[in-house]
Symmetry: C2
């Protein structure tokens, strides 16, 4: 019998920053909130993207009533194309206006144009199976951010998504506090709230405080201004454009996602720019330096981004030079510090000036700080709390904040990916763990991080590979050609030829021994060769490259 408990199964986003995805179940039916991804680290050789392992949904595809997206950031929507491919008949996908616009563009690129995307205006409700769904307007570093209120017959839960209580957002639409208060008054069973800034005391600065700070910095620049920020932060880009207008400078949008996102937002009426303000990147050189603002991707030091190319003197349209000022209107996402610092230092090497959020208040986080997390808890008055969207540290700090505002500590659940929380009017507790891990996108394939390909890459990338080809007769197992020893990625220089000769001798000895012993099976010969060559190489090089013996029978 399908469970009459509300079951909340995080597939990603707990104990990590990124790939947020939560499965909500009731009475055998499912709503999925967010389908996010993470970007790979340098240790994930050649991996393109990191996804939550959503194989749980594969067998339950028919039960999915809806996918609801809180906002258009990659860590909340980036896995959607892969999820849709996996679950066949696509369920309806709800979100705010910009979210739907951005996701439509993404799905088109993935040739998934038949997805059923539907804007759900904030405050309206829709019934899908046993779930009543409502989006609640909140503020974040991208427009049209929405919390998701899910009501079932045993009660309601709120997934906040990413939010801040910005009292002066750029679009004049602060978080819908009245509605949150109503939700609290009506009785909320469970709150799953963003933990990203649970370690920062106080209240996040308003997004609209950034514009004047940018204008102050810009007005002191005598040469070109190159601003980098997240392309999805439409209000930030808007404020840069406004400052450029104020200072009578032209604006060039550089970088594919910068142009794409601004176009989408502009077409939806979310971003606005006066006629004639924009110039094409290739026109930049036609204008005096003091008349140009470039808005560029690359605030995270991404290897192929426009700004990284500029820093490497490798951008077609923008050659940085002394007199330019590069403004980082963003802070490094944890893990990107090195890439960002390298980019900054290359810009210094060129002789341009750099301004970061350490030098002036030209960035504001999109995630509420501690007082905002407490406000969310106080407004919605949840009986149960499960912090989400954070590493272990931030989940714990969020739990402490919940306790600080009076939530009973036994009603606060510190969950993890794959561990379902089961809630109804009588109580709450964790259910049975399911497998929840990580999947890697690697070219056109989606795979397991433990798969052989990545393991092999790790091994070879550390110490290289030796390939030993031996050719033996089908008739009597005798050696019919000199062994070939080939290596790649192995560090040894002058002594290479001598070592290869010694290895060839070793291989020949091995084969002779095998022949004498009557060993004929290629597999046994390969194993013996593997061990003998590996041992010899380690003695000589103190390294353990991959050893790959190949026995050819002719």
């Amino acid at each position: 019998m399908p469970s009459k408990k509300l079951r909340v199964l995080p597939l990603g986003g707990l104990g990590e920053i990124g790939k947020n995805m939560t499965v909500i179940e009731f009475d055998g039916k499912i709503v999925v909130v967010d389908t996010g991804l993470m970007f790979p680290t340098a240790e994930m050789h050649g991996i393109d993207l990191v996804l939550p392992d959503f194989s749980y949904l594969r067998d339950r595809a028919d039960d999915i009533e809806a996918i609801v997206l809180t906002h258009g950031h990659e860590d909340h929507v980036g896995a959607l194309p892969y999820v849709l491919r996996e679950i066949g008949e696509p369920p309806v996908i709800y979100g705010g206006l910009l979210t739907i616009g951005m996701v439509r563009s993404k799905l088109d690129e993935h040739k998934l144009s038949d997805a059923k995307l539907q804007e759900l205006p904030a405050g309206e409700t829709v019934q899908r199976g046993p779930f009543k769904l409502e989006l609640v307007h909140l503020a974040h570093s991208i427009p049209d951010m929405r919390g998701v209120l899910i009501t079932t017959e045993v009660g309601s839960m709120l997934m906040t998504g990413d939010y801040k209580f910005d009292q002066t957002p750029v679009d004049g639409r602060p978080a819908d506090i009245p509605r949150l208060a109503e939700i609290g008054r009506d009785g909320l069973l469970l709150l799953c709230g963003d933990s990203t800034n649970a370690d920062r005391p106080g209240v996040a600065p308003s997004e609209s405080s950034v514009g004047p700070a940018l204008l102050r910095q810009f007005s002191q620049c005598k040469g070109r201004i190159i601003v980098t920020s997240f392309a999805s932060n439409i209000h930030r880009v808007q404020q840069v454009i406004d400052a450029a207008v104020e200072l009578d400078r032209k604006v060039a949008l550089v970088g594919r996602s910068m142009r794409k996102n601004f176009n989408i937002a502009s077409n939806l009426g979310i971003a606005k720019a006066p006629q004639g303000i924009f110039i094409q990147p290739r026109e930049i050189e036609n204008f005096p330096d003091e008349k140009v603002v470039v808005i560029s991707t690359g605030s995270q030091g991404e290897p192929l981004s426009a700004l990284r190319r500029m820093a490497n003197n490798d951008h077609r349209d923008v050659q940085l030079h002394s007199g330019d000022t590069v403004v980082f209107s963003a802070t490094p996402v944890p893990g990107n510090e090195r890439a960002v610092n390298e980019t900054i230092d290359r810009i210094y090497e060129i002789g341009a000036t750099v301004i970061t959020a350490k030098d002036a208040p030209i960035h504001a986080s999109g995630h509420g700080w501690q007082e905002e997390i407490k406000l969310m808890l106080n407004l919605t008055k949840p009986r149960y709390v499960m912090p989400v969207h954070g590493d272990h540290k931030r989940l714990r700090l969020h739990a402490e904040l919940a306790e600080a505002v009076g939530v009973d500590s036994k009603n606060i659940f510190r969950g993890r990916n794959g561990l379902p929380l089961e809630v109804d009017g009588r109580g709450a507790g964790f259910g049975e763990d399911i497998h929840a891990g990580t999947m890697y996108v690697d070219g056109v394939n989606i795979g397991d991080p433990d798969d052989a390909a990545l393991r092999d890459r790790r091994e070879i990338s550390a110490d290289g590979i030796f390939i030993v080809v031996v050719t033996i007769s089908n008739d009597d197992g005798s050696v019919v050609a000199d062994p070939e020893v080939i290596f790649r990625g192995v560090a040894f220089l002058e002594e290479a030829d001598a070592l290869v000769d010694q290895l060839s001798d070793l291989v020949e000895d091995q084969l002779e021994d095998a022949a004498k012993a009557g060993t004929r099976e290629p597999q046994v010969i390969e194993e013996d060769l593997h061990d003998a060559v590996g041992k010899f190489v380690f003695q000589k090089l103190k390294r353990r490259p991959m050893i790959l013996p190949v026995v050819i029978e002719v």
Copy 2:
């Protein structure tokens, strides 16, 4: 005729943080100041260490009068064993007492026990060829830090090494300001000063402010305390021990370098601990939690360090648990942020508490801040200034500080590795660039970063490798065995068998074509196979793995 100019050739440390090494030349003779290394990034597959390219010294080995080491940190002494191996007959090596003690231990491990190590007490001078050498006592995050004053007949120069003007250092020996003032009064031709904290306004906190802050934190801990810091920061370790004594806790030193450095310092009388305070790591479990302080390596999240193992539940003697407090008495070196954050989050996952320098003033940098850099400039009154030890940003900021205290901007030189500054009483200017790059230590080998091994590793680590073995007859070029197609590190799953079959067919077709065309040279066949297989694999997988064809003739 040997130059009668003082020639200062940085081989490392400019435009980067680490591998500090400078060659000072006069009248055909050489003094080397510091021989540092850097640690590799994750992108440097399998590389163990990064050294300055010191091949310049190879041809000049006979001219080296001395190597002078400012202090015992790896970024100042770590390349010494490799330099000594390269230059044959070892020159005399000077440094402070602890520096010599630490280097002796390092060289013993490298079986270089015949090195001529010699303590040069601060204030004493020694004449080596045309150079008069004197060490000037300064303060840093390791005891016995010394600036190097080098006097020739055209004038003097000072290499500061790493320093701060700590007025209350733990050993009661602040930087020798009187001597620096004398140097300034007598006329200093050139100052090469540390730029590490040229971006921080003000004065660095004193090392001795850390002890009371640690004691305050410790006194609030009810369970075990695990402190991590740099093993070489003897005064920090001393202050942790002092706090433990105060609170009647035993101390266990965990991690090889922690034990080694403390022993060296203790034997030299630089560190002191009361009898009976120490317990062995394996004894920790025998004492009540509230009676133990563990001092551990791993403050940078190093993969094999003691603390990282503890965080991974993989340390033999210390199993972290709820109630433990882990105190990071260090900040991440730029680039190590991710590793440190991962370590911290794993500790949170276990349920232990973490205190970092963000939470309490439990760390002090060993590098002077802006006001200290200005003080150094004002005391020594150099005619010429070349900032060292810093990335491009910090070198530029240091140059700006020099201008701010009145050094003529045309006398401030923003150098780079490999660019010699030539100075005498009449003027200063850059000489001819020499090649100055990077060498990698890779197992037992030292190589060039551009060498084929690393290039191959990068290629294979991104997309894997395909090996195609074909066997043809020596007589007529006919194919005498089925082609073998082997792959490693290539991401493709279900379709692997089919693809290998298709590839085998493709290879057979290629060989038939080659036979028809009369192509017999293995090299030509290999090239054709390489191109055909590469093209086919890219079509199928959208990936460019390494393709390695092997033609065997029988």
